[in-house]
Assembly symmetry: C2
Homo-oligomer: 348 residues x 2
């Protein structure tokens, strides 16, 4: 607990004195290269035992200052409020630790200023790599890292100044749209054009997904209604308001929807439940991203799952072996039926 005079932490000098030896011998023993430094195993044992007894913990600040490599790896993440980012963070931590790296993660709440501040702070802590996940301005972060000689990587949203690992949004969206259209046809007898909702028209992922959405419609010769592409932002409220506005303007709403994230889906489901539209005929829905409860809502929610493990494999491939320039690596998302997805949830 909280002592008034904080216990002075044991250092290698304390251990050296206790063992009647020198600090450098203690250091050599405790960081494992005592054989290289020709310390006798007797002394090694004695020091190890003393360290144990004294509850010695190395001072990383001192150690890292002296070494050339920090073995610290940073990640910036926008939110912890959905399975996708949660899974990214958890997988990242695990994979970093497997490599003997120490992960530091900061949540920037989609705030560009905080992103930059967080990046600078991480540089102060001597991170060796910085992974920007879903950053609003990844290139800015790459510039800051570049100036400090620190490697950076973009995950989820691409940039132009560092290798970017993202989902194959176009192909994923095309296939998701195709599936929604098939479900729609099965339910309604004929394929009818869908609504696209959620995301920002300015962000790369949304642009690509809209492109896939259009392509899937074109594939079966169905025309997309331009007024039904609602890239209103990600927040649930935005989706809700956007749907409300559409319902005021049009006499009939589309019978199927492509929802661009689970976050937007929250708003969509809420509106469907509240508004009283769709009482008799619930719409056919597909969502780009996965959530276990959302998968249980309604009876026909098709969900694509982004391949988090695959993306992070690619991230660490770059970190472990390097990558050429600002390459763009696209990882195919995963399609599974909702029950199967639940059974195999790796984060569960």
């Amino acid at each position: 607990m909280n002592q008034d005079r904080p216990i002075k932490k044991t250092t290698i000098y304390d251990l050296a004195e206790l063992a009647g030896t020198s600090a450098s011998a203690v250091s050599a023993v405790l960081n494992g290269n005592w054989k290289k430094r020709r310390i006798s195993s007797q002394l090694a044992e004695k020091i190890t035992r003393l360290a144990e007894e004294q509850g010695y913990a190395i001072n990383m600040q001192a150690s890292l200052l002296r070494r050339e490599k920090s073995k610290i790896i940073g990640m910036i993440v926008p939110k912890y409020d959905n399975r996708y980012f949660g899974s990214i963070v958890e997988t990242f931590e695990t994979m970093a630790r497997e490599r003997g790296l120490f992960p530091i993660i900061t949540c920037t709440r989609r705030d560009p200023e905080l992103e930059v501040e967080a990046a600078r702070t991480m540089l102060s802590y001597q991170v060796e790599w910085l992974v920007s996940t879903g950053a609003t301005d990844p290139d800015r972060i790459s510039d800051i890292c570049g100036a400090a000689g620190v490697g950076s990587l973009n995950l989820d949203l691409p940039g132009t100044k560092a290798p970017s690992i993202i989902s194959d949004n176009f192909t994923g969206a095309r296939e998701l749209t195709r599936r929604i259209l098939v479900n729609s046809e099965r339910k309604l007898g004929a394929a009818r054009p869908l609504l696209f909702i959620g995301g920002r028209g300015s962000d790369h992922n949304t642009v690509e997904r809209v492109r896939g959405f259009r392509a899937a419609h074109a594939d079966i010769g169905v025309a997309v209604d331009e007024r039904h592409i609602l890239t209103c932002g990600y927040a649930p409220e935005k989706a809700e308001m956007s749907l409300q506005a559409l319902a005021m303007a049009e006499r009939e709403l589309p019978s199927g929807m492509f929802v661009n994230s689970t976050i937007s889906l929250e708003g969509v489901m809420r509106w469907i439940k509240r508004s009283g539209h769709y009482v008799n005929h619930t719409p056919v829905i597909g969502c780009f991203d996965w959530d276990p409860f959302a998968a249980l809502l309604g009876d026909e929610i098709e969900m694509v799952r982004q391949d988090v493990q695959g993306m992070l494999n690619a991230v660490f491939e770059v970190i472990d072996h390097g990558a050429k320039g600002a390459s763009l690596i696209e990882i195919p998302p995963i399609f599974v039926d909702s029950n199967y997805a639940l059974i195999n949830d790796p984060t569960a």
Copy 2:
């Protein structure tokens, strides 16, 4: 990017040479106490400008080594796979930063070994406080911290060796149970005993919630069926298997359930959907914890929301002002109707 000869980072010595002054002047200017050290504002400005130009970033390892305080605060968290922990982490980060503390968070995936290892690593990084969230063995962590003179705190699950901040599980569970019973009565005409599912019989929270569950039944004079208290663990699969086993053993299942976490609720909802029980009469459900999609499932899912902000206020109250011994602080959870909860989701 990845340069072959890593750019040597700018230090205060480099800046000192550029400015034609000493490192100590640079240090004084950059850490803001140049007035105290009587540096002229001219020189201060010059140094500031140079630092900006050179993209100088302080070396925290060096700075922290010299200072006595690290201003680093650690948190251990079991998972990132639900809103509760996600919200805890996000709020913790924000509040830490507001206080000029640097938060380090590690996810230990409910692995006791990893918890201990993570705690030790955090001590190496000279954390000033360690918050153990939902730790399997909080006292072990408190011991480790105590030996190093570092303050520790338990969040969500209590321990006996450090101040613990938890939800008022008993009162929360009693009220949640009361509400489920009321819903059940409204739906079925009479109050019938409920099923309790999820959590570990050995963990404090579960014990308290079962106690509240029993109390609410006693309050209205309904007997609890002991075979219907299924503390089978948190994982969805466990809940599912547990329900399946019960369905095999009994002819009739309870018409209402108290589900001990959203994680368990995943399994419960899955089983309900798959098993074919409850086809005509969906059970009345209450869940200790909140999830936006779960709130939209069925029509009568009552959810308690743990007061994350309140709990973290208490955490930082202890950190800012200290606490006496291993006190137990219980924060009342929040009851809201599901629509209201959605509207006011602070994490949305």
